[in-house]
Symmetry: C2
């Protein structure tokens, strides 16, 4: 793999102030970052002139259902149970392996174009999404997804066997135990998921306290909140990455914070489905590790981490104060905090870190003037400001072009048309 020199790149110093650095990328990592690198350091490098680019961390999407891209705009503006029962589940029941592959390819295309190089995927037909991740060069945490309805009890251990067999197979992909939620997985199965994750040192990812009715039903069924239920089953540990976390009680917040688990907020989805306003500020104050995700396209309706980052920042302020979650912290929620949760040594532009980054076009009108690089990036920019994306030391987008994008779109459109005929 050819080394890359990002020459004279604008980088954030502190508080949005910038300086210029030469950045050498090799072996998938940031090898050297200096005011000016020596000829030896950049020997054999492809030199990329970054005088008009800021080099910023790429996004990591902490929670999604990638293949739901085919359902974009298929059902909107309706309450959850009608949405699920009449639209989403009947559509999903028709999806074949090939559809999942096509849909995942569209998802990865959309993520790359909006600067995302990692996604945590809770879905089915996982081999087909894994294939797409391998091909496209980005990272993923792929779910061994478990639900009572879709995982026959006699296939449960096969799922874990799959996980064990493929563990560590790819440097860009890891497998994660993903019991869907406390309302779709029985206590027994949930306990087994938690148990094997603890024994084998896997991460656990689940939906947690997304809606009030989930919490109410859990209390009715188990006599405790979903967070307490996880605790009771031994699952409230630092290997837990919980999506949504909209309806935590004060006690939930305390024990969740103490456990070292991570809460992945999905503000666009929570607002659009009227699930509630994720209490960004309260969760921060409670000392909970926070990160961000987009959720699936059917409830967002895109995979744009930048948008969820802006929603999170602004919701934190309106529920707290204008000083809550300043721009650089909002950026961390969408980058390094997700990487940390999933155990990926990335998310900042620093020597030794995995070489994932964005070349952000400082000549885009939203980045001008540049009193504060990070403020512009978080509050003013959109995807078009991203010129190029590097993942694991290789370009996955250049000048806003991704290899094969026309074919991906054509196939996805044809597939969706076929499914709704």
């Amino acid at each position: 793999m050819k080394k890359i020199l990002l020459k004279s790149a604008v980088v954030d110093v502190h508080g949005g102030k910038t300086t210029r650095k030469d950045i050498v990328i090799g072996n998938g990592k940031f090898m050297k970052i200096a005011d000016e690198v020596s000829a030896e350091d950049c020997d054999g490098c492809e030199v990329v002139d970054c005088s008009n680019f800021a080099v910023l961390p790429a996004f990591y999407n902490g929670h999604t259902h990638a293949a739901m891209t085919l359902l974009r705009g298929y059902a909107d503006d309706m309450e959850l149970s009608r949405w699920l029962n009449e639209y989403i589940w009947p559509f999903e029941a028709k999806l074949t392996d090939e559809d999942i592959e096509i849909a995942s390819r569209l998802a990865v295309l959309e993520m790359i174009k909006s600067g995302t190089v990692f996604f945590s995927d809770m879905y089915w037909h996982r081999e087909y999404t894994m294939k797409v991740v391998e091909e496209t060069g980005i990272r993923a945490a792929i779910g061994v997804t478990i639900s009572d309805m879709l995982t026959p009890p006699d296939e449960l251990e096969e799922n874990f066997a799959f996980l064990a067999a493929h563990r560590g197979e790819s440097e860009r992909m890891k497998l994660v135990v993903m019991p869907h939620s406390v309302y779709t997985v029985s206590e027994k199965i949930l306990r087994r998921c938690i148990e094997i994750a603890k024994a084998e040192n896997y991460l656990v990812h689940t939906h947690l306290s997304e809606t009030l009715s989930e919490v109410d039903n859990c209390i009715r069924q188990y006599g405790c909140t979903p967070v307490r239920l996880f605790e009771r089953l031994g699952g409230l540990r630092d290997n837990l990455i919980a999506a949504h976390c909209v309806h935590f009680t004060d006690e939930d917040m305390k024990i969740f914070a103490d456990s070292g688990a991570t809460a992945v907020l999905n503000p666009c989805s929570n607002l659009k489905l009227s699930s509630g306003i994720p209490p960004v500020q309260k969760l921060l104050e409670a000392g909970i590790k926070l990160a961000l995700g987009t959720d699936g396209v059917s409830s967002n309706n895109n995979l744009d981490m930048h948008e969820d980052m802006k929603f999170a920042a602004l919701l934190a302020k309106v529920c707290g104060s204008a000083e809550t979650l300043p721009a650089h912290e909002a950026l961390e929620l969408a980058t390094s905090k997700v990487a940390d949760a999933y155990g990926i040594n990335a998310g900042t532009i620093a020597e030794g870190k995995l070489a994932d980054c964005l070349l952000v076009n400082l000549k885009n009108e939203r980045m001008v003037p540049c009193h504060d690089l990070i403020s512009n990036w978080v509050y003013a920019a959109d995807s078009e400001c991203i010129d190029s994306v590097i993942c694991n030391g290789k370009f996955v987008m250049r000048n806003r072009r991704v290899d094969g994008e026309e074919d991906i779109l054509k196939e996805a459109a044809a597939c969706a048309a076929r499914l709704t005929r």
Copy 2:
């Protein structure tokens, strides 16, 4: 002016379903919309192949301070009074006529690139913003802005004389009486603004009930809410366009709705400054005419109406239900409702309407698949999906290029650097 034929354009029919139409534009209007236009109808037309484009209404920005682009990212993440006193006002005090012209040019560039063809501008040095509007081919409502601090009493009538002199001078521009707010304009001057607008049939635009402290102070000073004060002074009429409207009492909502006035919400700004969540759903339920704006760049931090449209739609849902403010209604708030408020015969793609529209790229990944055009546009798209913008029957952007954009950016960057040296 050469006629334009938008050939085989994808247009919304109802509920997001689409059909294809030929659209003839001439004399600044949509002249003919048909399945296929006759040779006679499109005689002399420039033909634009729209087989990959949806033709959608352009955005109208109901409230901004355009020249504040120079303050993008200059001060963030701090409470309002420190923000105003230590950063915004001292910076603004330095702005010269030329700075305003440069800043307005950047604002118009940014608006065009995000699909906006009209803005209502409450600011100073208005001649310089007017010059930019004339040059760039978009529309504006330019404020004769009045505040006690910045309008010497002996110059008040000069402002109205300016308005009278320039009224109707340009087909794309109108002048509007803009008393800044109840907390920056004395009762006497406010009364005079209302009186002259009524007598001369001008629109009135003001900040109204943006923060709780504004409401509290008004009650302390006048014994009533800002809405009641406007009513008492004879200003709560259908010529009133009020920005923000975050903190209305139930009684405010009732009398505001009865008056036929319009509330222009600015959700990003209200959230970012922690002013409050605009009660979209309650205002709708009260029967208030609603529209949207971006507010100035210093509190947003861009002029992207699409973003405020998505914020408004999602906030409406989370405060109401998932069914509140469906996509096509959210789109109206950012398009026809603003045009209606400002008396512009535009905002829909229909024969006889002013020819303002966007060519939206259906081959952008966010628009694929296309189960529902309007859902994709409102919830999934971003600015990059906009290929071209037409205002008043002329292209102001083509293939995402605006004439002279490099120079505009260079000048704005240099100007901001000069001001902060």
